[in-house]
């Protein structure tokens, strides 16, 4: 099953502003780009043409794995605002 079908089942309230802030300069230099593998919601995608990380923050499940796996330790990771983000019904 692809990740979009899974995420379609998750209830979110979107915020206009991202709660995840990457440092694109660090991302350009980063060889591993672990965030693009380990994220359970596929939030991070490397865009070869634009030479940058795309952050689909609206899909974030707020687990925190990216923050720990980021080898540059330059990811600014916060919880979304109290009124936004994921709401689990069957956690």
């Amino acid at each position: 099953m692809n990740i979009d079908d899974r995420l379609a089942k998750v209830k979110y309230v979107n915020d206009e502003e991202s709660h995840l802030k990457v440092n694109q300069e660090d991302c350009k230099k980063c060889k591993l780009k672990m965030c693009t593998y380990i994220c359970p919601a596929n939030v991070y995608e490397w865009n070869e043409n634009e030479n940058k990380i795309i952050v689909n923050y609206e899909n974030c499940l707020e687990c925190g794995a990216c923050r720990i796996a980021c080898s540059a330790k330059s990811l600014e990771w916060q919880y979304p605002k109290g009124t936004s983000g994921v709401t689990y019904k069957y956690g």
Partner: protein, 432 residues
């Protein structure tokens, strides 16, 4: 609350935070519980079961009114290789209940309602962004809207506990000290669940899944039965995902496709997907648990016994101990770390720290040996049963001899010896 000041603020409305808050409120003290989600349980995810005895320590009558799914009478240990599986089942046919499956958005919400009845003031949809520290003492919290002050702040803000990091109670995690859990909730229907898992009425079944897509890696699958849904997921050490560059949900797909599992969820409809981190660093990763005006409980304090899949129970007990300590501190009007050290003493004396200490070598040894313990030996178990049951006109003695010969040659005697000493070291660490 005068001037935004109260006696205790608890940050985080999960099992640890609620247990702390309710303990404080029942002693007649003022306590505010701040939850970032829409309601308690809305940001939480776990495998699936809460433990009966520890839950009764906080909610003695919970079985009468809490939203529970099923009473787990069956516990399966299933070992998968690509084309095989071996399952061992323990079943308790007495009236005793060890654990119940619950759905967190219902169960945690129920716990928070109980806390409110006991006098806890619950504030939802509020994220604590920072702790307010004055003269090295925690004196309050900054939320998005307002600052609140308290004599004591209890951090129950979960595995990521950014607040504990802010005040230096703990350092950042290493990817080998956390596991990433992903799970799916699959609707199957009550009748079908009972049929497929051989259950009656509200009896439930827990399945621990070893091997297949995670052979050789520090990860396990899990399956729990709810009333009319099944949760199927896995937890894998983050460093394994980093090393193998694999997406967690792709591993989950492979678990779901294994014939032994696929038939159990066949025709089911995915109704939710979720992810959460599990602190797995154990005893050596437990942070500093208290400081002036502050204590840390639950996942934030790394209180997880991963071998036994215990976490919510340790969370509840730590919350209770922190709550009791806060009450004593309020009575003495002393919120210094000297008084709050009582919290750690209570934890140390209880099963919480005793168990973490018993298993302190587990994860280091597993990290060292995952390729043999979680690959070679798991395969060997399936191979043994295949050999033992196969009726192929080859004399049994020949087959046994071949099995022993292969065991001694596939993995050389030194490696076998090393595995043996590691197991003895581990057992000695637990039992001494």
């Amino acid at each position: 609350m005068e001037n935004n000041k109260t006696q205790v603020i608890v940050v985080g409305g999960g099992p640890a935070g609620i247990s702390a808050a309710i303990t404080i409120a029942k002693a007649g003290k003022e306590v505010i519980l701040i939850e970032r989600g829409n309601f308690s349980g809305s940001k939480n995810m776990f495998g699936g079961a809460i433990y009966t005895q520890p839950t009764k320590e906080i909610f003695p009558e919970f079985e009468q009114s809490a939203p529970i799914e099923r009473n787990n009478v069956k516990h399966n240990y299933t070992i998968l290789t690509e084309e095989e599986s071996t399952t061992i089942t323990y079943r308790d046919n007495t009236e005793h209940s060890n654990s119940y499956t619950v759905i967190r958005s219902k169960f945690d919400r129920w716990m928070s309602e109980e806390a409110k009845k006991a006098g806890v003031i619950l504030v939802t949809q509020t994220v604590v962004r920072e702790l307010i520290v004055e003269n090295k003492k925690v004196v309050g919290v900054k939320t998005e809207l307002e600052d609140y002050y308290a004599d004591i702040v209890i951090l129950a803000d979960g595995v990521n506990s950014l607040l504990a990091k802010q005040i230096g109670l703990r350092k950042d995690y290493n990817p080998k000290d956390v596991a990433l859990g992903v799970k799916e909730v699959i609707k199957i229907g009550k009748e079908k669940i009972n049929e497929r898992f051989n259950l009656k009425d509200d009896e439930g079944c827990i399945t621990e899944i070893f091997g297949y897509p995670m052979l050789g890696q520090l990860g396990l699958g899990f399956m729990y039965t709810n009333k009319d849904t099944v949760t199927l997921g896995l937890g894998i050490t983050l460093s394994e995902l980093v090393e193998h560059k694999v997406k967690p949900y792709e591993l989950l797909d492979r678990v779901k496709e294994h014939k032994t599992i696929a038939s159990l969820i066949e025709g089911g409809e995915l109704i939710e997907y979720s992810a959460h981190l599990i602190p797995e660093g154990g005893y050596k990763n437990v942070p500093k648990l208290y400081d002036d005006g502050v204590m840390i409980v639950g996942d934030g304090a790394g209180l997880v016994n991963n071998l036994h899949w215990e976490g919510t129970n340790l969370a509840m007990m730590s919350g209770k101990f922190a709550g009791e300590t806060a009450v004593i501190a309020i009575d003495k009007n002393d919120f210094s770390k000297k008084i709050l050290s009582l919290y750690k003493k209570k934890l140390d004396k209880s099963f919480v720290m005793k168990d973490l200490k018993s298993y302190k070598d587990l994860m280091p040894i597993m990290h060292q040996n995952s390729k043999s313990f979680l690959n070679y030996y798991l395969r060997k178990i399936n191979k043994f049963f295949k050999m033992f049951i196969e009726t192929d006109s080859v004399p049994k003695r020949n087959k046994f001899h071949r099995f022993i010969f292969e065991t001694l040659t596939e993995r050389n005697p030194f490696a076998l010896l090393k595995d043996g000493t590691h197991i003895i070291r581990l057992l000695w660490g637990i039992l001494k």
